[in-house]
Amino acid sequence: MDSDDDFNSQVSSEDMDLDLNDADSSVDFGANDSDVDFDDEFQDEGAFDTQDKDMKQQKKAFEVDFKVYSPEDIQAQQDKQVAEVATLLEQPHEQTAILLRFARWNKERLIEQYMDNQEEVLEKAGLGQDIARDPPRIETVDGFVCDICCEDEPGLQSFAMKCGHRFCINCYRQYLGQKIREEGEAARIKCPGDGCNKIVDSKSLDLLVTSDLTDRYHELLMRTYVDDKDNLKWCPAPECVFAVECGVKKRDLSRIVPTVHCDCKHDFCFGCTLADHQPCPCSLVKKWLKKCEDDSETANWISANTKECPKCNSTIEKNGGCNHMTCRKCRNEFCWMCMGVWSEHGTSWYNCNRFEEKSGTDARDAQAKSRQSLERYLHYYNRYANHEQSARLDRDIYFKTEKKMTLLQNQSGLSWIEVQFLENASQALQQCRQTLKWTYAFAYYLARNNQTEIFEDNQKDLEMAVENLSEMFEKPVESLAGLKVEMMDKTSYCNRRRIILLDDTAKNLKDRKSRTESESGDEGMLTMTTENWEFNVELS
């Protein structure tokens, strides 16, 4: 690891700048710009230049524009759009909100349809034709019998929307409470009247239910707003209240991995909302996770303890000492030792002197091939899983170290502020390992060609940098103070290697010109021929 040191100290100061730039590199991206085409944004970017100067100024190929919104921002966004459309349609605020929710916040389409056939739109949105404007109110009506609870006592308070379906306020409340609390409904709660499709508007709701329910109701309305918009997603971190806006479309996902950074510090993919998985595209991540779920627990065991029937490829575990195997599925009889057909063995099986027999060699070849594909998978899986585990261990060590450092503060002569380099190092390790982990899933699907070498070099460089830094965490706490400069250098070197890898990969991915999915393999495997990257599977 010492060989890197010279380089480290040269680049370290510039890296620090780089890191700072990264922090605020996300460009503002207003709510109404959501239709900005992703392609346009990237096309005019110049060719990749490895010089530091250029890298600092340009947005990296693996970065996307995004914006984080608080619940208040989102409310304001909704209000603004409702106000705009309300003026246009000459409808009251409440009705407009219902119309917009009905149209899943597609303003243009709503306005167009509304202008086309106002009555139909109102009807479909559950507003009927009534545009009366008096506010909803609770009343007592003589001779009223609630059709839900059958109460008829005089002075019973009741409520009805414009549709005229009147129920006592207790039943109305209970109905709304159940819809909101248990069914998670908000934007599409209908009047309780039999067969009535009128939507309960939020003014009526506010009038009827208690404040805890109104809060939940408005929260749900907000949820549906974000859920309805393609360019908005909730941060998936537990307890996080932020939403992120990003213009990357679904169809772009084979060419870009849109990692966004929420204000709660959680990094996630805007495409699939899983934790950051750069550089691996969403579709590969999905395939990989599925594969791991299916395979990895048993794959090792299978590899170690079983062989496949040379005829039907059923996986077979040897359950007795005898080498004369009969496949339970296809009744093929073969020798466990040489995998050859049993009948060729005569009676002298245990020498396996028929080693060069053709059927035996063929069978072993076929077997080797299928084992090889398993071995290949395990190669990548083990490295993938290892980085995942190491990231956890790195973090544990960091927490322990941090604790000790606090204890030893006087002794080591470092103040709390000065200990921050440890946190930075730990964060870098976490992030780099996350990236490394996914490079292995990515590599698994990558078909070998000249371009893969560059990728593997980048992977190797990052991995070495990470291991070097990781190793320093294991040094005695007392000596860490003296290693501060070296550690900072290694940290920035890691970050730098990560950026290079991601940038390079993202560029290659983006520039892929798929010459269509023409060459289908034998087992329906699709080989995408591209200018530089080739994958064993289809990227979707």
Binding site: D147, I148, C149, C150, E151, F167, N170, C171, Q174, Y175, Q178, E183, K190, P192, G193, D194, G195, C196
Partner: protein
């Protein structure tokens, strides 16, 4: 329990004038479990059959729909062919149920579905398939089941 008044009223109405082809045994211990005997509609394959249907009212009733189960086996695309004998159609679905809906309406609906199965909204897709494509075989099995289970 707020639903008591409603329950009593419904029970009174339904025992006084039960829907066509239905006999309601008034609940004795548990007010929330109703037993109904329904005759197969005369012009259907279920004619002559007598079906024991149990209606379980959730404690949130009438804000949640009643749960219906055929205790007598029936060969029908909309009734699950298991010990639950569940039917989940139209107003019986949570999202379509409205609190003013009554049990008598539910029973009317069930009877209508017996007379005219709704294969596009089936629980038993196999039976639905047969109902659509091979009506003759469907009728045959359904009638057989009437004789076997519903007499």
């Amino acid at each position: 329990m707020s639903s008591n008044k409603r329950l009593m009223k419904e029970l009174g109405e339904i025992t006084a004038s039960p829907p066509e082809g239905c006999t309601i045994t008034p609940p004795t211990e548990d007010m929330f479990i109703w037993d109904v005997t329904m005759e197969g509609p005369t012009d259907s394959v279920y004619a002559g059959g007598k079906y024991h249907i149990q209606i379980v009212l959730p404690k949130e009733y009438p804000f949640k729909p009643p749960v219906l189960s055929f205790k007598t086996k029936i060969y029908h695309p909309n009734v699950s062919n298991d010990e639950r004998g569940a039917m989940c159609l139209g107003m019986l679905k949570a999202e379509e149920w409205k609190p003013p809906n009554k049990i008598s309406e539910v029973l009317k609906l069930v009877r209508a579905v017996l007379a005219a199965p709704q294969p596009d909204d089936a629980v038993e897709t196999g039976i639905a398939e047969q109902f659509k494509n091979d009506r003759k075989s469907f009728d045959k099995v359904a009638k057989e089941w009437v004789g076997k289970y519903a007499k």
